[in-house]
């Protein structure tokens, strides 16, 4: 390798590295980067600028409860939350975030406006609504609405579920049901008796949630 050319390039990079661009930074370890900048430069790639992610691989964050988002980011940061999105994406994203940045990110997404989704099959919708509003009494499953609210808007640490991707909800229910990936919530016991059909129905209902 041409040592002189390599050194000159490295020297140039070293000089340039003194510069930082706080207003449009994608640095996840700089405590001075404002949360709104991180939200737009990094989070938006998967979750959307307005928190209405297009891909069901990534949960919608628009209008989500700020307290819930803070708790999740803290759980990712401490690696307490270990379901696949943790090691795949969020542990790294959250690793160096400060408490202030986490709070700011949560507030950014909490104030975004959730967008409606396309309607789903009426039978599935009815089955999902029944589970959401009334639970599954014969299996001792309590109504989801009891904690997540009649409009599925959530409250504080209980997340908003309305307009969330159905695929994401089913996967989370499976994680609560079958793994220890999201400890510290009451969900593990609540969802235990749910069948696959129950989960599909309630998830479809929540995705297409009627306004």
């Amino acid at each position: 390798m041409n040592g002189i050319s390599l050194l000159s390039v490295l020297a140039l990079l070293a000089t340039a590295s003194a510069c930082s661009n706080i207003e449009r930074s994608r640095d996840l370890a700089n405590p001075n980067v404002p949360p709104a900048v991180t939200a737009m430069q990094v989070c938006s790639i998967c979750h959307g600028m307005d928190g209405n992610s297009g891909s069901p691989n990534f949960p919608r964050l628009a209008g989500q409860q700020a307290a819930y988002l803070v708790a999740q980011l803290e759980h990712f940061r401490s690696q307490q939350r270990s379901d696949p999105p943790g090691p795949e994406y969020m542990w790294g994203i959250s690793h160096h975030l400060t408490d202030g940045q986490i709070k700011g990110l949560a507030e950014y997404f909490a104030k975004q406006v959730p967008l409606p989704n396309a309607p789903v099959d009426a039978h599935l919708m009815a089955a999902g609504k029944s589970i959401y509003d009334n639970g599954v009494p014969e299996q001792n499953v309590i109504p989801c609405a009891a904690c997540h609210g009649p409009k599925a808007q959530g409250i504080e640490a209980f997340p908003r579920l309305a307009h969330q991707h159905a695929d994401y909800i089913v996967k989370q229910l499976n994680i609560f049901q079958n793994t220890q990936g999201r400890p510290g919530t009451p969900m593990e016991n609540i969802v235990h008796p749910l069948t696959g059909e129950n989960k599909e129905a309630v998830a479809a209902y929540l995705q297409a949630f009627p306004d």
Binding site: N2, S5, L10, A14, N21, A29, M40, D50, S55, W91
Partner: protein, 501 residues
């Protein structure tokens, strides 16, 4: 010492040599946070699958494309080093129709360590990032006594500056890339620099495995290049990239480090443009890209006098490509198609030197005179599926067609005769008949399929097998070399163990 140990040893020495210099440089440059070891996964703290679709390298996810287009700057600085290596094994269907199988199929049926790469890659500033690769080929050259010698040289280099202007009304990424391979700056997997399977056999270790099948490519890249590209991605919808390339020598020799400047093909000046335009759309778990790319390069004949304009030829490439991805855990589906047409106009001197008339080895049968230019068309399509980023498979079809040119003819009809000659009396034989790699028709055509199965038990290790089946090679299905060898005789099974860290 085992054969394998002997093969690995020089590679380790080479890597150690690079490491010693680079560790010093990176210790000066990267004093910040360094949790664990190298490269992008450490920089972002994320798993390989966040950027690579189903863990298939080098194919990128939508997030991976944004990571690249924003200049590899997401995350925080860490030690920017990674290594990669490949052990492989290949077996060709028929090795009997050869004058000397030990020469024609040197590594057939023998497990080898084919080579490895050292990557220096990572965030430098909020706007600057680097991806660079130094590759060691364990079979780079062969001494007169038949012994292989390994060699390291600069592989892909992509140094970027990028900025992203985003608000509620717009999302604009602009950037510059200094690189050494046209289309290496591109974030899609169907461009020339990225469509090959990874890992692939070292070209010199196994002929006929998939790495030797036709891929869309810019043949100007046979010359060591250095270029600068400016690109823009507007609203995650329109991507445009314009670059200009020159020969990577003198001040740009870092881009071709390890390649001897003498005897390489040189480009004329810097007016050798590369361009790329793509439309892209994401919906739900799906994403689609339709694009086009091309390059015009003015190249002197390799090793020729570049002050003589008579030695100047030209490559013109125009391609179209498309990629569809469906990414929803646990499924990854990718469909890719790419087509590239290349016209090579020969230099006046090369054309004059290859003057007709040509006749076949019988001394009577005339063949077409050499063309002043040749055109090749390469089409490739690939469908792949990966489950849980662990179990995967793919099927690919390739088809190359092109003009027939006596320059490509390396076999005559009569194995005992003179082959192709421009003298019916045969005193000055131009090309003798060649088995295995001979070309009777002077056609570059090749067609076939590649099937692949792989298993990724850990994100840094992959074990796989590929089978490449030819139904056309060097222009024909049967008797392509004029000595009885058929395209299907070249069908090859290729197995590999790949690792990176």
């Amino acid at each position: 010492m085992s054969v394998l140990e002997k093969q690995i040893q020089p590679w380790l020495l080479e890597i150690a040599r690079f490491f010693s210099g680079l560790m010093v440089a990176s210790a000066i440059l990267m004093p910040l946070d360094s949790q664990a070891l190298p490269a992008f996964a450490r920089q972002t703290g994320q798993n390989c699958v966040s950027c690579h679709a189903g863990g298939q390298f080098p194919e990128l996810t939508p997030y991976g494309r944004m990571f690249k287009l924003t200049g590899y700057t997401i995350g925080s600085r860490s030690i920017p080093l990674s290594v990669m290596g490949v052990f492989n094994y290949a077996k060709v269907s028929d090795t009997t129709k050869s004058d000397d199988p030990s020469v024609d199929f040197q590594k057939n049926g023998v497990p080898v360590f084919s080579g490895g790469s050292l990557f220096i890659a990572g965030k430098v500033t909020d706007n600057i990032g680097l991806f660079s690769q130094i590759t060691y080929d364990n079979f780079a050259s062969q001494s007169p006594d038949g012994k292989f010698q390994g060699h390291s040289s600069a592989d892909n280099i992509d140094l970027r500056y990028a900025d992203r202007f985003i608000d509620n009304n717009r999302d604009l990424i602009i950037g510059l890339s200094v690189n050494n391979n046209p289309s290496v700056s591109d974030p899609w997997n169907t461009t020339a620099a990225w469509m090959q399977y990874v890992p692939a056999a070292s070209l010199s270790s196994h002929q006929f495995s998939d790495a030797n099948t036709p891929f869309p490519s810019f043949d100007a890249h046979n010359s060591p290049l250095a270029g600068i590209n400016a690109y823009v991605l507007w609203n995650k919808m329109i991507y445009a990239d314009l670059g200009f390339y020159r020969t990577a020598n003198r001040a740009f020799s870092i881009m071709s480090a390890g390649t001897n400047d003498d005897g390489t093909q040189k480009l004329r000046g810097t007016n050798n443009p590369y361009w790329r335009l793509a439309l892209t759309h994401d919906w739900g778990a799906h994403n689609l890209m339709i694009g086009t790319s091309g390059m015009i390069a003015h190249a002197y004949d390799p090793g020729s006098d570049i002050s003589d304009p008579g030695n100047l030829g030209r490559f013109k490439n125009v391609g179209v490509d498309a990629q569809y991805q469906y990414l929803l855990d646990p499924h990854t589906v990718t469909a890719q198609v790419a087509y590239m047409r290349q016209t090579q106009t020969y230099s006046a001197n090369a054309f004059a030197a290859a003057a007709p008339p040509f006749v076949l080895g019988d001394g009577i049968t005339p063949v077409a005179s050499v063309n002043p230019s040749d055109t090749t068309n390469i089409f490739r399509a690939k469908l792949s599926y990966v489950y849980q980023a662990t179990y995967g498979g793919s099927v690919a079809f390739f088809n190359k067609t092109g003009t027939i040119n006596t320059l490509n003819q390396t076999s005559g009809y009569d194995p005992g005769g003179c082959g192709i000659t421009n003298d019916p009396e045969c005193p000055g034989v131009v090309a003798t008949s060649l088995r295995v790699n001979g070309n009777l028709l002077g056609s570059p055509a090749a067609r076939g399929m590649t099937y692949e199965l792989f298993w990724t038990p850990l994100q840094y290790v992959r074990v796989g097998a590929m089978y490449t089946a030819y139904n056309k090679f060097n222009g024909a299905s049967d008797n392509y070399d004029g000595l009885g060898r058929n395209a299907r005789d070249n069908n090859t099974l290729f197995g590999y163990v790949w690792f990176a860290y």
